[in-house]
């Protein structure tokens, strides 16, 4: 524990110096918010496995590492070599490198005036009142070490606001890149769909090959009355990266929030996905996590039906190979008086090796008496009968395994409504599960 305390101290001690470099200087409300979060973080540190919500994920490696905060505002002017391979065609793009916005690498040409897309640091200068009414609001009732850390330390983020009744014509891709070894990045995204608005945002996270670093990203999502927001997330971090992400969404009446997560990278990854639903609103939350080697991917979801007549659908699928460990903790909570809720939660897992592990914990907390809530979990392996059947049709055993694994994953790919993103994900999956010369057929 000595190491833990020592490294935590380092984060805490460096803060006063770092604070003066963070965006939003001179905004009293923000300074106060950051100060409170810093105090919380100084007192409690990062979450530990003693906390029920964190019992499957040990973040000690992060504390031992003592990464350097990415604070020096070095705006990347030249593109990281791999940037081109991160771009999803037919999207507007915002690029954040090492925790800082790069205007030159971003591409927002043709963005209509009624859709605001800017760096959070710019939003704090240009429309601080608007930011003040959203920042911190979706995470108000949450509160663990990573949220406190993120609120105190965030150096940048994406600010998106789709005006009332406006429909985005193409998706917006956030490209979050960490290019340096041993840095800790903290970013905060604010995504707002005003009443009746519709939009699609793709958050994507990348890093350099096998470098170690920390990504801490929090998105606060606000879906107003009758608005429809789709959020995709791709986590394809470097192999030694630590990735802690939280998506916290607030849905007003009759809104819909669709979420689809693809987690492929990082050594340790934690995805939190919490949504609070208002009257007659609905959400569809989905995820695919694929891990091998010694990877650890933890999904923590929480659907809060606060008012009546809502519906929720959730499906997370895991594919685990090697000594990888996956976690699914899914909770559906129906508040008192929230009648006529219709909810389904599923988690299906495929274990490809004897040493892979999945911990799955679906949970229902129901305080209303007229609701329909179902949940189901499966854990299985590839079936010998299926492999033999494919072999008897000329497919090699290895290809048969890849084909069946790919097929298991493909259900999630089929849920992608943006064709360029779908192709992108398919290509990534085919790298993982190649099937000889047939591959192009999927694309």
């Amino acid at each position: 524990m000595a190491i833990t305390a020592g490294s935590l101290e380092k984060y805490v001690e460096e803060y006063p110096e770092i604070q003066s470099t963070l965006p939003g200087q001179g905004l009293a409300w923000l300074e106060q918010l950051r100060q409170q979060s810093w105090v919380q973080f100084s007192t409690h540190g990062f979450p530990t496995i003693q906390e029920e919500d964190w019992r499957y994920t040990n973040v000690t490696p992060l504390i031992k590492k003592s990464f350097q905060s990415a604070v020096a505002k070095t705006v990347a002017t030249s593109a990281p070599e791999a940037l081109a391979s991160y771009l999803i065609p037919d999207c507007w793009q915002v690029v954040i490198v090492d925790g800082h916005f790069s205007k030159t690498l971003s591409q927002l040409e043709g963005l209509p005036e009624d859709i605001t897309v800017m760096a959070l640091s710019d939003a704090l200068t240009e429309c601080p009142e608007k930011v003040a009414s959203y920042l911190g609001k979706a995470v108000e009732k949450e509160g663990h070490g990573f949220i406190h850390y993120n609120t105190a330390w965030f150096s940048e983020g994406l600010f998106v606001s789709i005006a009332q009744n406006v429909k985005m014509k193409q998706p917006l891709q956030l490209i979050h890149i960490v290019s340096q070894e041993n840095v800790a990045t903290a970013t905060r995204n604010i995504i707002i769909a005003e009443a009746g608005a519709e939009g699609v945002v793709i958050e994507s996270y990348f890093g350099n090959q096998d470098q170690a670093y920390l990504t801490s990203s929090i998105s606060e999502v606000f879906v107003a009355e009758n608005a429809h927001l789709t959020l995709y997330k791709l986590q394809n971090e470097a192999s030694k990266a630590l990735h802690f992400s939280g998506i916290y969404s607030q849905q007003d009446r009759q809104s819909t929030f669709n979420y689809l997560d693809f987690s492929f990278g990082a050594l340790i990854a934690r995805n939190e996905l919490h949504t609070s639903l208002g009257f007659a609103s609905s959400c569809d939350l989905n995820g695919l996590f694929v891990a091998g080697g010694r990877q650890h991917i933890d999904n923590h979801t929480w659907i809060k039906h606060q008012q009546a007549h809502g519906s929720s659908r959730e499906l997370f699928k895991g594919i685990l190979d090697g000594r990888a460990r996956g976690v699914f903790q899914g909770c559906v909570e129906v508040f008192e008086g929230a009648q006529k809720i219709d909810s389904e939660m599923h988690n299906h897992n495929l274990l490809l090796s004897d040493n892979a592990e999945i911990d799955t914990k679906p949970q229902l907390i129901i305080y209303a008496d007229d609701v329909k809530c179902a949940h189901g979990v499966t854990v299985g392996q590839l079936e010998d009968a299926s492999i033999f059947y494919l072999q008897s049709r000329s497919v090699s055993e290895e290809d048969a395994r890849d084909m069946l694994t790919f097929a298991f994953a493909n259900e999630m790919v089929d849920k992608i409504k943006v064709s360029s993103f779908k192709k992108y994900i398919l290509a990534l999956l085919l790298q993982k599960f190649p099937q000889g010369s047939i591959e192009q057929e999927w694309l």
Binding site: E383, D384, A385, S386, F388, Y389, L390, Q391, S392, R393, S394, V395, S396, E397, D399, A400, M403, L404, F406, A407, F408, N410, E411, Q435, G436, S437, I438, E441, W442
Partner: protein, 248 residues
């Protein structure tokens, strides 16, 4: 085409096939009939290379090539096809994808280039009409939610596309109503040629009304106890399998 010599097979320690010999020449259609538990399905599984069986003696060869040590996919690429008694459902893999994967694996094995997408589709659609199937089947997951008859037709469709030399039909008639049986039989008959051989494994004579075999074998307790012409099947249908024991 297919040469089986004194084949002996165990499941665990238990002998199931106790010395089977069979010679099928190109273009010939053979039927193997026998009561439940006689070893019919074991024979089809061993020929296709399914795990869980130990060959303790004898040999199996296709066109002189030893099959025993060959992986199932290599047997398939060499032209052996098994139409399953219980076709497996493969969620997430579409029929058309599997057909193309199968065909291309065979072509690659023979040193041919990949099939042209358009040619392939034309070819498949031709075959699918032959089997009275809707084109929609191509885009559905392999066998998933198919009725018994649809699954069997799908097996024949795969056979038609893969164009094997040696076709083994394992209880293809089971679970088929009379209409489906006729369609399946017509599909098989259209594939008969002087270079393609068939081995039909069946419990009942019914299928043989529509696909006339050249030779009929009777399998009982792991051995072929009688071989004859198509008339042998009729005799079995009338007398049942009870008299076989006396012959053996």
């Amino acid at each position: 085409m297919l040469s089986i010599k004194d084949l002996q097979v165990n499941v665990g320690d238990k002998p199931i096939l106790k010395g089977i010999s069979l010679e099928i020449k190109p273009g010939e259609v053979h039927a193997i009939m026998g009561p439940n538990g006689s070893g019919k399905s074991t024979l089809s599984h061993v020929l296709a290379g399914k795990e869980g069986y130990t060959i303790t003696g004898g040999s199996i060869a296709i066109e002189g090539q030893d099959l025993a040590e060959m992986a199932p996919e290599l047997r398939a690429r060499e032209g052996l096809f098994l139409a399953f008694q219980y076709p497996v459902e493969i969620p997430g893999v579409s029929n058309i994808y599997l057909l193309k994967a199968a065909l291309n694996a065979i072509r690659k094995h023979r040193g041919l280039s990949e099939v042209d997408a358009l040619d392939f589709l034309t070819r498949v659609k031709e075959k699918i009409r032959l089997l009275g199937m809707d084109e929609k089947f191509l885009y559905r997951a392999v066998n998933q939610g198919f009725s018994g008859g649809e699954k069997k037709r799908n097996e024949i469709l795969q056979m038609a596309v893969m164009e094997p030399k040696m076709c083994i039909l394992d209880e293809t008639d089971s679970g088929l109503d009379i209409d489906a049986l006729q369609i399946v039989a017509a599909g098989v008959n259209s594939l008969r040629s002087e270079n393609r051989s068939f081995l039909m494994i069946t419990h009942y004579q019914r299928l043989l009304d529509y696909i006339t075999p050249d030779v009929v074998h009777v399998l009982a307790d792991g051995r072929i106890v009688k071989t004859g012409g198509p008339e042998l099947a009729l005799e079995l249908e009338q007398k049942g399998y009870g008299w076989i024991g006396q012959v053996a």
